[in-house]
């Protein structure tokens, strides 16, 4: 796990909340918006714990590969997750 992303660990319960929340974080980058929608659509079909974990990993992987390019979106996701108390 790359801690510099400051995203919660995949086991953190806030991942499930943010991924299944009706409202997405406010993203400004098109690829982030598409990525997050793709993940949410996958969870419409299967929201089991293993599916949520796979979705969390997909989001994490995306931000790991594109962190500088989508820094504002990363901050938005972190902010939303931090506001979701377990």
């Amino acid at each position: 796990m790359k801690n510099e992303l400051r995203l919660p660990e995949i086991s953190d319960a806030r991942w499930r909340r943010v991924l299944l929340d009706k409202d997405s974080p406010k993203f400004s980058s098109l690829p982030t918006q598409l990525m997050f929608s793709r993940v949410k659509m996958m969870l419409q079909v299967d929201s089991s714990p293993s599916a949520v974990q796979a979705a969390s990993l997909a989001v994490y992987d995306y931000f790991q590969k594109n962190s500088a390019k989508v820094q504002v979106d990363l901050e938005s996701l972190i902010s939303k997750m931090e506001s979701m108390n377990v």
């Binding site: 997405s24 406010k26 098109l30 990525m35 793709r38 419409q44």
Partner: protein, 330 residues
């Protein structure tokens, strides 16, 4: 930088070894010399002076001052999912697909789910024809191969950027979903639609549109986590609706909010494009027609296309690619 040029001028650019993406009428594309270029057929353009139809000039986007390396790859329909594996780790990729081909259909239906597709910058367009010459066939060219016209393949120009710059894929969409309109869902991906669900109730889509008197100049719009993504109407028949891009069964669509003055709304939305000085841009033929862009400046020089690509196939949208200073990877 993109500009409209004569065929002898673009051949000089090719001979200098420039990396190019070219749009033009088929008869002109056949006269291009072999080189590091891709091309697609279309005779409609947005130039500095305004929108125009031309069979005398081609629109060329040169990446000579931008790219440090480039490669051109052809993809058959069954190979399209491999596009991201050819991305440079820092760069952008320009794709051109022939309209109404199997490659076009495959890309429209499935690119959203291609692994790693969002970890780069994939932009481009769907080639087309003169609207008054329906017997012509849309085509693309790979200038490096000498294969001649390709009717059922995508050509992609993958470009690498220096470490101190990164590309950003952006869109301008004047449409947004009308939140007071019905929610429309579909049962499977595709262009040819019979049935849908309106507010959860199954109904015939064509009959629904007719009963509501929907103005089909305005597209279906789905909200993708803040991005408004359009699918435009091609034809509403008795019991079937044809679209210009695939719908997705898990997306929720609404008809776009009505715009009284399409032309003015379109012009007002263009500031962002001009400010970013894009290295590539394309705009939709439906915007050209519905906003009466012929002879009018709109600030985004590029081909007027039969569909736009920003990772996925879009309609009635301006796609552009801008360069930023800094490292892409953290």
């Amino acid at each position: 930088m993109s500009k409209l040029v004569r065929i002898d001028e673009v051949n000089q650019m090719i001979e200098r070894g420039e990396i190019l993406a070219i749009a033009g009428d088929e008869a002109l594309l056949r006269q291009l010399k072999p080189g590091r270029w891709i091309a697609g057929s279309i005779p409609y353009f947005m130039d500095e002076a305004g929108g125009l139809f031309s069979k005398d000039k081609v629109l060329v986007s040169s990446f000579a001052d931008v790219a440090t390396n480039a490669k051109i790859v052809e993809y058959a329909p069954e190979e399209l999912s491999r596009i991201p594996s050819d991305y440079f780790s820092n760069g952008f990729s320009i794709i051109i697909l022939p309209s109404q081909s199997q490659a076009h259909s495959e890309f429209s239906k499935h690119s959203f789910s291609y692994p790693q597709i969002l970890n780069g910058n994939l932009v481009g367009w769907i080639s087309g024809t003169d609207l008054n010459a329906p017997s012509q066939k849309p085509l693309v060219y790979n200038g490096a191969s000498g294969h001649g016209a390709l009717y059922n393949k995508a050509v992609v120009l993958h470009c690498e950027l220096p470490a101190n710059r990164f590309a950003q894929t952006e869109i301008v969409n004047i449409f947004e979903a009308d939140e007071n309109s019905d929610t429309i869902e579909f049962f499977e991906s595709g262009y040819e639609i019979t049935d849908c669900k309106v507010n959860g109730e199954k109904t015939n889509f064509a009959q629904y549109l007719k009963s509501k008197g929907v103005d089909t100049r305005f597209p279906l719009v789905a909200d993708y986590s803040g991005a408004s993504i359009n699918v435009s109407f091609k034809e509403v028949a008795e019991n079937r609706v044809s679209l210009y891009a695939s719908i997705f069964p898990l997306a929720k669509y609404r008809i776009a909010r009505h715009i009284t003055d399409y032309e003015t709304a379109f012009k007002q939305s263009l500031g962002a494009v001009g400010d970013s000085r894009p290295i590539f841009s394309c705009n939709c033929i439906l915007n050209y027609l519905y906003a009466n862009l012929e002879g009018k400046k709109c600030g985004a020089v590029g081909p007027i296309t039969f569909g736009e690509v920003a990772f996925i196939l879009l309609n009635q949208t301006i796609v552009y690619l801008s360069l930023k200073e800094g490292k892409r990877h953290g």
